[in-house]
């Protein structure tokens, strides 16, 4: 009888050895070559050369875009004379503006002429709210960022993390990281129950440069759709898959954004 009870108990526990999980699957992508132009362009209120990156979508995961080289790219602020962008380096698909600052309230128009077709997009920036102090916590002998919503407006914060100048960096490669925290102020169940992110730990002495970007309504909608297809995808409450929205005219994807940014730099100090 004892053996029977033991058997039943073991049998009852078995399910938890075999319940749901995730694993790699080898299925072919139904790849398709498209002639879409993928545009990634952000103007900010920083007085710099702003970059517009143009490429063709790639057909396999973890791939790289084939650059769209030789395009005629211009940006116009309201009705003023357009800036012409310069491709640099040559054949890189990266186009730079002259040094200027994008201002809140102005409408910026991007125009791309490529192989006889013209693509365009418009956006304007909204003010950005100030950053609050960087919050981080100790995990064993390393540190991890505490990220949470703040402020009233949709925004995202890019964190450039480098510990190259610390003793923990043994090589010159692999001592950098980039984390982006999105706070779009939307209520989406796939965001609330989004899949877990990998832990990212860094040593004491790490330098973190933060840039907080504001987001216009159209930019927020674009970021929400991108996140639905990327970071928020794969949780238990997924939504129907679809292409991310765009503010580019037909034939192009991606987004031309104009944002306001604030930034700060923090060096990680030892915490109990």
């Amino acid at each position: 009888m004892k053996n029977q009870i033991l058997f039943l108990v073991l049998l009852s526990l078995l399910p938890f050895l075999f319940t749901g999980c995730e694993e790699r699957i080898d299925i072919p992508l139904q790849s398709d070559v498209t002639n879409l132009l993928a545009v990634e362009g952000i103007l900010t209120n920083e007085n710099i050369n702003h970059k517009i990156k143009i490429g063709f979508p790639y057909q396999s995961m973890n791939g790289t875009s084939t650059p769209v080289s030789g395009a005629m790219v211009t940006i116009q602020e309201d009705n003023s004379t357009p800036y012409t962008l310069t491709e640099f380096p040559v054949a890189s698909g990266e186009y730079y503006t002259p040094v200027f600052r994008a201002v809140v309230g102005s409408v910026y128009t991007l125009k791309i002429q490529y192989q006889g077709k013209e693509y365009s997009a418009q956006d304007s920036s909204v003010p950005v709210e100030p950053l609050i102090e960087l919050d981080y916590k100790r995990v064993n002998d390393e540190y991890e960022l505490n990220l949470y919503p703040n402020g009233q407006s949709a925004n995202y914060i890019g964190h450039h993390i480098s510990w190259k100048n610390t003793p923990a960096c043994s090589t010159t490669d692999g001592c950098d990281g980039r984390i982006v925290y999105y706070d779009l102020k939307t209520v989406d169940v796939n965001e609330i129950y989004k899949p877990d992110k990998a832990d990212f730990l860094f040593p004491v002495g790490t330098t973190i440069v933060r840039k907080k970007h504001s987001a216009s309504a159209a930019y927020r909608a674009f970021l929400r759709s991108v996140l639905s297809e990327t970071e928020w995808h794969g949780g238990v409450f997924d939504v129907d898959r679809a292409n991310a929205t765009t503010n580019l005219s037909t034939g192009a994807i991606g987004f031309f954004a104009v944002t306001s940014v604030v930034s700060d730099t923090t060096i990680i100090v030892e915490k109990p």
Partner: protein, 876 residues
């Protein structure tokens, strides 16, 4: 050779008889015996003439003597025989100079004649052991070849000529019942059926024609609670919704889901009724289990089309569940204990034979299992509670009170979700006469969903749908196999499409209008067997749906931008939809074992689920009524079926082909915002859908080996002008091939084993055709909507139940069920992900560091090889 048709031959023969055979004056009193099976009336009359040494005279065209009849009489007078036949075939006889003259009955004479000659046998068919009214037994008068089935309360009514009859009642799981009744006047008599004890032989008793062959209804499957109980179940949790996967044409979305699609429809197009109250979300644990357990159920019917006119409001299916009324003979308790829940039930008489009660509950017991896995887990529980009371005031009046309540609560960290379903029904059965049955139902149900975005501040998003229904149904049993049902109903609805509540008060930050609707329904349905071959069922359901203020609605331009707000005062009716839902079914009985049926039906749906989730789990459910921006959904369905019963084997075969076109279907703008979006209707897109296919099923409900084998091939397509570049795309439920095998076998009187195997083509989904990079994220680019398919789904389950008692008469019966879900450990994908990185064995996460992380294609699946043990007991 001169060809003379049979009717003329009979006529000539009778004329010859008339000239040569002398007729005794006392012919009507001569007693003879007749046994006719599948013979023409002319042949039967000839036999009567021979045996009674009489002669007949009639016009074969007016009497229709070529019709085939079944007739039996033992030592009856010719008078009795001719009266019975005359009532059945609308003629009367007279004796003129020793000759029997047959004349057709004129309509006016017929009604008078009927009132004199016909009487009604009515009553309830009940389970002898507990008094439970049995739904669906076939009550058959062999001598007349006529019969009927009991209604949802076990009531039957047969209006037949006076006489001495053998009443024959058959019902699956019960011993065949026969009773001699001398019908001189109308009588009401309850018939008590005894359960068939388990035997280890394949004895199939064939009595009346199989219901699936004889009934005019198409696309209906009756699931016995016992069949549900015998199926191997996940964690041993017997589950009505999950058992629907054994019905061809019904496709469960995935493991761990109670969502199902019927004949290409959407998941919100399925109506689940418990005692006439709708249950909007019949799921526990996000859908891993359903709320409906078979313990408290007496009957389950699922309609995939051709729904009864008395039921409406959904396009694709009705799952009509009736709970037990409670044992009115003795106290009984039962229960079970499994890995995730404990069930307890009790039922018994309040006053023996007069009133009874039933109370059953299920409570989750699995929190401890997950507590160690997730330290943030605060709540993880569900429960159900079902109750019923029944009172028989006198032979004509009976009342039922029933309720169902169930809830789920899952809280982890500062987030949580919870939902609850509540339903209550009061029913009054009244017999105006032996032929007119009334059922009046008052029911109310509500479904609430909460999403807690900040538990510490009690900040939560809430949506609900509540409804109140009042309906009166009449059943008028005109004659055997001639029934008229009609009724009237009024339904009230209250929709909250989702608003935020904060703090302890119920103050709502409303950005979406609460909607109120009222629906008036009038329906009628006539089901009649025209002759031995043909039957027809036709009817119509008329509904008038009106939205009533206080409410506000937005109007949108063609680009879906809001352009105006329409405000309506409290009590102000502001939009009405009047719809007719006709239905027609033709039935042709090829022979006693085979029939063909053809059906058309239209359905209307005015309550719509707004959700762009593709998750198989219960997520945020928002219901909206038909209104300014949402037109009623409509469907037209055509069905052609062939139905057979294999004589003496107990097998029934059903094959149906269907075509369904659905209008005003809802889909969504890409990445639609359906939560807290005041302009949520601007995110909706409208189009059409169509589904077609064939379904086949072999079923055996009785015997040592029982089960169902089904196959279906069906397609489901959708077309929306504003989606997928206006091109037609596969619906999410487009899973062409479906195979289901469910078997149970009694190894011995104590051991029963069972298995089920299900196969489904994988669900369509949109897979990326390419990618681009934005802000360090790898963004997929999609081509055609639903261009790809998940891997095919298949799963084998097995179970064995052992009765722990050796004494079958013991008052305490208990058993142990061991089941294995997904025996061969198939990894059935719920999702394919393209955005995660593999950190270790089966550890997939979204990369944090955008400069690093090689993404891989991964599949998420649930429940590989999952054994479980459940202990069940019953005491009386």
């Amino acid at each position: 050779m001169i060809w003379i048709d049979p009717r003329t031959r009979v006529f000539l023969f009778l004329l010859v008889l008339a000239t040569h055979v002398s007729v005794a004056q006392n012919v009507p009193e001569v007693k003879i015996s007749i046994s006719a099976k599948e013979k023409s009336l002319a042949d039967v009359l000839e036999e009567i003439a021979q045996k009674s040494k009489s002669r007949f005279s009639y016009n074969p065209k007016r009497i229709q003597s070529d019709q085939t009849i079944n007739y039996q009489a033992t030592n009856k007078s010719v008078n009795e025989i001719l009266v019975e036949l005359g009532n059945q075939f609308d003629f009367q006889y007279s004796l003129v100079e020793g000759q029997i003259i047959l004349k057709p009955v004129k309509k006016s004479e017929k009604s008078v004649g009927e009132s004199i000659q016909n009487v009604t046998l009515s009553g309830f068919v009940k389970d002898a052991s507990n008094g439970e009214g049995l739904i669906g037994p076939s009550v058959y008068i062999k001598a007349l070849g006529v019969g009927t089935t009991t209604n949802a309360f076990g009531f039957f009514s047969l209006t037949i000529p006076k006489g001495n009859y053998e009443v024959f009642i058959t019902f699956i799981g019960y011993k065949p019942f026969t009773k001699s009744i001398d019908l001189k006047t109308s009588i009401r008599e309850n018939m008590l059926l005894e359960e068939e004890p388990q035997v280890l032989s394949e004895i199939i008793v064939m009595g009346a024609p199989a219901p699936v062959v004889e009934e005019i209804q198409v696309s209906k499957t009756n699931l016995r609670p016992r069949t549900v109980e015998e199926r191997p179940a996940l964690f041993g949790e017997m589950d009505v919704i999950k058992s629907l996967e054994s019905v061809p044409g019904i496709k469960l979305q995935s493991d761990g889901s109670t969502f199902y699609s019927v004949r290409g429809g959407s998941r919100d197009q399925n109506l689940v009724l418990i005692d006439d109250s709708p249950i909007y979300n019949p799921s526990h644990m996000l859908g891993i289990f359903s709320t409906i357990i078979p313990d408290a159920i007496t009957d389950i019917n699922v309609y995939k089309g051709d729904m009864p006119a008395s039921i409406g409001g959904r396009l694709s299916s009705v799952l009509d569940i009736h709970t037990k009324k409670g044992n009115d003979q003795y106290l009984q308790a039962w229960g079970s204990g499994g890995l995730v829940s404990t069930k307890l039930g009790v039922e018994g008489p309040i006053k023996k034979n007069v009133s009874s009660y039933l109370l059953t509950g299920r409570f989750s017991t699995m929190r401890w299992l997950f507590q160690n896995a997730d330290e943030n887990l605060k709540e993880f529980r569900f429960h159900d509670l079902t109750g019923k009371m029944n009172f028989r005031f006198n032979s004509k009046n009976r009342m039922f009170f029933s309720f169902y309540t169930g809830s789920d609560n899952y809280f982890s960290g500062n987030n949580g979700i919870s939902w609850s379903n509540n339903a209550g029904t009061i029913r009054w059965n009244h017999l105006f006469s032996e032929r007119l049955f009334l059922n009046t139902t008052v029911s109310a149900s509500g479904y609430d969903y909460f999403l807690y975005t900040d538990v510490s501040k009690n900040q939560r998003w809430n949506s609900h749908i509540n409804n109140f229904n009042l309906k009166t149904d009449f059943s008028y049993f005109i004659k055997p196999q001639n029934e008229l049902t009609f009724g009237i109903g009024v339904n009230g609805y209250n929709f909250n499409p989702g608003n935020v509540q904060e703090g302890s008060s119920n103050t709502q930050i409303s950005n979406q209008s609460i909607r109120n609707s009222v629906e008036f329904v009038l329906y009628g349905n006539h089901e009649v067997t025209l002759n031995k071959k043909w039957g027809i069922k036709y009817g119509v359901r008329l509904s008038s749906w009106t939205n009533i203020g206080e409410a506000f609605e937005f109007t949108f331009d063609k680009n879906h931008n809001a352009i105006d707000t329409l405000a309506y005062k409290a009590g102000e009716p502001y939009i009405t939809f009047v719809k007719a839902e006709p239905r027609l079914t033709l039935h042709y009985l090829i022979n006693e074992h085979s029939s063909l049926k053809a059906s058309y039906s239209r359905n209307v749906q005015n309550a719509h689920l707004i959700s762009n989730s593709i998750s198989p789990f219960t997520s945020l459910d928002v219901w909206l009524p038909s209104s300014v921006n949402i037109k009623p959904q409509l469907s037209d369905q055509f069905t052609l079926g062939s139905y057979h019963q294999l004589a003496h084997s107990g097998f029934s075969l059903v094959a149906e082909a269907f075509y369904k076109k659905m209008y005003n279907q809802i889909d969504y703008e890409t990445h639609a915002e359906t939560l807290l979006n005041p302009f949520v209707e601007s995110e909706l897109r409208f189009g059409t859908a169509q589904a077609y296919g064939i379904e086949m099923q072999i079923k055996k409900d009785e015997g040592r080996l029982r089960g169902m084998i089904g196959y279906s091939y069906a397609r489901a397509k959708r077309h929306f002008a504003e989606l997928n570049q206006g091109k037609t795309y596969n619906a999410y439920s487009d899973r062409p091939n479906q195979i289901n095998v469910t078997l149970s076998f009694d190894v011995s009187l104590r051991w029963t084993i069972g298995m089920n195997w299900n196969y489904l083509t994988g669900s369509p989904y949109s897979s990326p055709v390419s990618f681009y990079s934005y802000n360090g994220l790898e963004v997929p680019v999609y081509g055609q909507k639903n261009n790809d398919r998940l891997p095919d789904y298949h799963r084998l389950d097995a179970a064995a139940t052992v009765k722990l008692n050796r004494n079958r008469e013991s008052k305490f019966q208990h058993s142990l069920t061991m089941s294995i879900y997904n025996v061969y450990g198939r990894k059935n994908a719920l999702y394919i992900n393209y955005n995660k990185t593999e950190l270790g064995s089966k550890d997939f996460k979204v990369p944090s560091n955008l400069l690093d992380g090689e993404r891989a294609i991964s599949q998420f699946y649930l429940f590989q090889f999952t054994p479980s043990v459940t202990y069940n007991f019953k005491w009386r």
